[in-house]
């Protein structure tokens, strides 16, 4: 029996007053930079287009040259794009045919040079029509393994030469690829693993009754001769519904295989059916521990496409919120990390949570909500700061450094904590870069990189702060980094409070943000803008943009492809937890069972973001 949800919605563009220019393809990149010039020189005709698009370096490359290009970008010293940050894809079947490209699927790669502080987008139109195949970049960048599995799973793009091309988020037997444009939102049949008619039900159903138990299917590379332990999806310290299949030899870990997707909620598909301004509320639910950062990341990507100027005051408010959220998220990380390693009795769990409550109180003050805040909106923020906010923030800023010292006297000073973390989950600098890790994971392995400092957004270039880096590459190094990051965030908060300018808290560009209520009574134009924004939503010019921010867990990137309408044509989220979690297998191998828990805590995952 198939379970069909009652409402079936085909893909549609929202009413755009019969604008024939919608939908439109993203224009090809124009002009050239030093890097694209080098690429064109080397690859010649294989480059379909190269140049700048929305101030972003972009190269369209034919699939047969993709791996060569990746190798060239990685090894050529003058380019040095060492890391693959993200892989996504676009199904162009509902877009008008392009002039030069007619492939249905595009895969989109975001490459990063940490030494040269450059970002490059590579677009590869896939061969093969509806059964596309693209060469895999996993042999070049190890960080491509999971993102390519995700693209294969959700979009159905095959990757030739991929070491382990399985589904990653959807169930193994799912019949379709949900992000394709011919898949409607809702109404698709849901194939449950077991139905009443299924003959298998008889045998499997008997597992709860007295009968032989049926051994589950093992992930590739695992040996049933040893003890196999399923950690999760319901396990106290997998931070949600993560399932780890662990092969054990006594207490020693031989192999770990993560199984994701238990919390997959199709945020990307939902986003492609929501107007731009309506998706802000969904971003809160992804990494629910740092909602403000998610808001900010999404909003910045859309604003990049819109090309809208954000007032100074809004920028500073955003920085304040983003840093508060970073502290809150790190505090929660600290309390759960301590819980995982030291047990429920350890009091630090509650101490860190107590300080986090203070931050949530501040959020409640500005937005009315504590966890899913949706305070940062396209064009600025929702409302201005309430008058009492700054004095409360001042109290908090005065309080926090002392509290951090207190935590450190309980942990850093004690020998047990250090012994549990030192040397565990060690990742070398090369491994961390190659696996596409970001945030504290990357800095913990000795890469001096912070998007706030190296690719500043929201005015972060105006703040004076240090980026902590540890060369140890182990859990202890990452712990020290996060503790120091909280202190640096307090520093940024102090500067932001001192420099908070007066002025607008959201842009007065009426194509983007609503006019104030008072204006509606006196201005016809304001009324029209209000009506258009409320009914149609804001229309974003055709194009694509990737914007990454330094969220508390790493680089949170949003890739948005606009077809000119008020609904994103393609919305892809690069969740830092997802990419960082890839490292768990390597980190755990050769350590003990207890260290798996330390490693999960050290990666700092939120399953809402991993599974999206």
């Amino acid at each position: 029996m198939l379970n069909v949800s009652p409402r079936r919605r085909e893909y549609e563009t929202l009413p755009s007053l019969n604008n024939p220019a919608i939908p439109a393809r993203a224009p090809l990149p124009q002009g050239e930079t030093d890097d694209t010039k080098r690429i064109v020189e080397r690859f010649g005709d294989a480059v379909i287009a190269a140049g700048l698009h929305n101030d972003q370096q972009m190269v369209y490359i034919r699939p047969d040259q993709l791996v060569d290009l990746a190798n060239f970008l990685k090894t050529e010293e003058k380019l040095a794009y060492e890391a693959l940050v993200d892989v996504s894809s676009v199904d162009c079947s509902k877009l008008p045919a392009g002039e030069t490209i007619d492939a249905r699927f595009h895969t989109v790669y975001q490459l990063r040079s940490y030494t040269r502080k450059r970002h490059l987008t590579v677009v590869c139109p896939a061969d093969g029509g509806s059964q596309p195949v693209v060469p895999s970049l996993a042999p070049v960048f190890e960080g491509a393994v999971w993102p390519e599995r995700e693209v294969y799973d959700l979009m159905g793009v095959g990757f030739s030469g991929h070491p382990d091309l399985r589904r990653i988020l959807m169930p193994e037997n799912w019949p379709n690829h949900p992000l394709r444009k011919d898949m409607p939102l809702g109404g698709e049949p849901v194939p449950f693993t077991l139905t009443w008619e299924d003959p298998e039900f008889e045998t499997l159903g008997k597992q709860v009754l007295p009968a032989e138990s049926v051994a589950p299917v093992l992930p590739p590379g695992m040996n049933r001769e040893r003890m196999i332990v399923n950690m999760g999806p319901h396990h106290p310290s997998t931070h949600g519904v993560l399932r780890l299949v662990v092969e054990l030899d006594g207490e020693d870990v031989i192999h770990v295989d993560p199984d994701l997707g238990y919390l997959h909620s199709g945020f990307e598909k939902t986003g492609e059916n929501k107007r731009y301004k309506d998706f802000v509320y969904y971003t809160d639910r992804m990494d629910y521990l740092s909602a403000m950062n998610n808001n900010l990341g999404y909003v910045l990507a859309v604003e990049k496409l819109l090309g809208v100027e954000i007032p100074e005051r809004a920028q500073v408010i955003r920085v304040i919120m983003s840093e508060l959220q970073r502290i809150a998220s790190h505090l929660f990380w600290l309390s759960t990390h301590v819980l995982d390693i030291s047990g429920t009795g350890m009091s630090l769990l509650m101490y860190a949570t107590r300080e986090r409550e203070r931050i949530l109180d501040l959020f409640e003050m500005v937005a009315g909500a504590r966890l899913t805040i949706s305070y940062i909106r396209i064009g600025g923020v929702w409302k201005d700061l309430p008058p009492a906010f700054l004095s409360h923030l001042q109290d908090l800023v005065d309080l926090l450094p002392g509290k951090f010292d207190e935590y450190e006297t309980m942990l850093t000073a004690g020998p047990l904590w250090q012994e549990r973390l030192e040397g565990i989950g060690r990742l070398s600098r090369e491994e961390a870069i190659n696996m596409g890790l970001t945030g504290p994971m990357l800095r913990g392995s000795g890469v001096d990189w912070d998007l706030r400092r190296d690719m500043p957004y929201s005015g972060y270039e105006n703040y004076d702060f240090d980026v902590p880096v540890s060369t140890d590459g182990d859990c202890y190094g990452r712990y020290i980094i996060r503790m120091e990051e909280m202190r640096q965030s307090v520093r940024i908060l102090k500067q932001a409070m001192a420099n908070l300018p007066d002025g607008l808290y959201r842009t007065d560009n009426r194509k983007v943000s609503l006019p104030p209520r008072a204006e509606l009574d006196v201005s016809m134009e304001a009324l029209i803008h209000h009506f258009k924004l409320m009914t149609e939503g804001l229309q974003v010019p055709p194009g694509m943009a990737y914007h990454g921010i330094e969220a508390s867990k790493g680089e949170l990137g949003f890739y948005v492809y606009s077809d000119g309408s008020a609904v994103p044509y393609r919305l892809h989220v690069r969740g830092p937890s997802f990419n960082n979690l890839y490292a768990i297998s390597k980190m755990c191998r050769g350590h003990m069972l207890s260290d798996i828990v330390a490693n999960i805590g050290s990666i700092d995952i939120v399953l809402g973001e991993v599974d999206r």
């Binding site: 332990v229 310290s237 009091s347």
Partner: protein, 328 residues
Amino acid sequence: MDWINLLLLPVLRSVALIVVLLTGFAYLTWYERKLLARFQVRIGPNRAGPYGLLQPIADAVKAVFKEEIVPNMADKAVYMLAPALALIPALIIWAVIPVAKGVPAIADVNIGFLWILAIAGIESYGIILAGWSSNNNYSLLGALRSSAQMISYELPLGVFLVSILMLAGGFSLVSLVETPRAWWEWIWLWLMFPLFFICILAETNRSPFDLPETENELVAGFQTEYGGIKFALFFMAEYINMITTSAIMATLFFGGYRLPFGLLGDVIWLGPFVLAAKVIILLFLFIWVRASVGRPRYDQLMQFNWKFLLPVALGYMIITTLLTVFLK
């Protein structure tokens, strides 16, 4: 009237002891939850009765009325037996502990020390059998950890006990408490108390040595497959063990039922209350440690035992021997 002395009195004493211990267990859970809550800036149980004092009763009712679930693949007989095997040693170890002047809990046998060592030795059986019979990987790992840990920590514990024995000069706990000690003996004993306490923490599977049931790695360790009253029995065993070991420590190190400097030494009925007060203070230590110390890893735990505790215990024993020979 021999049968009264031989049968009736011991039975009555046992019943009284068990009732006191079970009530003590119930209120120890309340005590721990309240204290932990205070350490963690919380309030703790406060709904059932004044200050949550009826909470243990509510918990007991809940545990008793839970559905009995036995896993299919479990070894049923052993699975059912294990909780009892865990609880019984915790109770019978009390037999030799003196509770008031000249009054042992059950019997003043001249092998009091040996009794403690012997019963401590069989305490791990309940846990090992529970872990093995549940047919669950987590349980098995927990049981393995537990057996290794308890056997290892019994060695330094035994060596420390032997040192105390040499100082006391006899196996009876009753005479140990009643024989006056020289001042240097007290100091020498108290020097060893922290290490002895560490051994006791490991022996009772208490945090930070609660590796057999680490909820963050092994879900619930050896008791993963136990629910309802069977789980409560394990819980009881652990907490009664805490009370028992506190009483043993009070007896060995802090003069048991006696007040310092022989104050009010003639008031026999005061004995149990003094002992109880000392036990409560020592239990506070257990909980304090739980609230503030992190957990070591399994291999670190073993290393600490074999590379530090055991050599120190042996050294302590040798020095004690010399002290006893030359000063007593």
